[in-house]
Amino acid sequence: MMDNQKTVRTLYKQLLTFYPRAFREQFGASMTQTFNDLCNERQREAEQGLFGFVLGIFIETAIGIVKQHILQIKQAVTMKKIATNLISAAIISLLLVLPFVILELVNRRDFPESFPIVLFGFLWLLPVAFIIILVPLVRNVRAGNRMMANPIHLLLKIACLALIALFWGGLLNDQLPCFLGVPNCD
């Protein structure tokens, strides 16, 4: 009986190694502990057989392993989507700023100052942030989700969007004469 229990516990530990690594590291020890508790409980209820009970737990755990792997794949797809969104935002923003970069390069080529990398960095990053905040809001509206479920969160996002738009517009308005080649602008 004790040998059986030992074998079963070792087999269960082996089974747990099939879980994704992160999950195993987070819950492996607790799952082993819980399995031991269940085995001890079963032992106290002496007469009932161990085989059916263990088989049930092994099947349930095997299903759990498959589920965790599927979840991991889904999360990887989501991460890929996030990366794609970031790249899209970066490209859209670049396209937005590119005309002003060209204007700057063409109209100020005879001026002694160097290319304003920091300014264009801001002009590029602000629309990236704008798009990253805006896209989930638009998706929620299109999916028909209730926007006012978390009003403070929504207000904060709208305030951020407004601030970014104002700052970007102000910056562009301020620097436009320079892009157009007006002398003595700063």
Binding site: Q26, M31, Q33, T34, D37, G56, G64, G144, R146, A149
Partner: protein, 120 residues
């Protein structure tokens, strides 16, 4: 089926885990046993379901690890205890409200089993 709620419906396992933790922090085995008691023996959660659900609940902020301590009623091994969070309490309340609404609806449509009907 799509939902438009900030608190989407919970799976039976998540509901039972939240119910078990609503009365105090518990370790994995303790949650299993409490869920079994709460459901009058109808819910027997396995370790795979329990820890899979706990992972999702931890990620969603419904529960959190409280501490690692010995359960005096069991052996001398230190165990991780889990406790319900504010978000978890909100999700549980929303789910119970949904159940209450369904029961009320079933009663109004006279679908509720006579043996379980109550006057209140």
């Amino acid at each position: 089926m799509t939902t438009t709620n900030a608190n989407p419906p919970l799976t039976p396992a998540v509901l039972h885990i939240l119910l078990a933790l609503a009365s105090g922090a518990r370790h994995g085995y303790g949650i299993m046993k409490q869920a079994e008691v709460d459901s009058q023996g109808k819910v027997k959660m396995g370790a795979g379901t329990l820890y899979g659900s706990l992972k999702r609940m931890l990620d969603a902020g419904l529960v959190q690890e409280s501490d690692k301590r010995v359960d005096p009623a069991m052996d001398d091994e230190r165990r991780i205890y889990y406790q319900i969070t504010g978000v978890g309490k909100q999700a549980l309340a929303a789910e119970l409200e949904r159940y209450q609404h369904l029961v009320t609806l079933a009663q109004a449509r006279k679908l509720y089993p006579q043996s379980l009907a109550y006057d209140g």
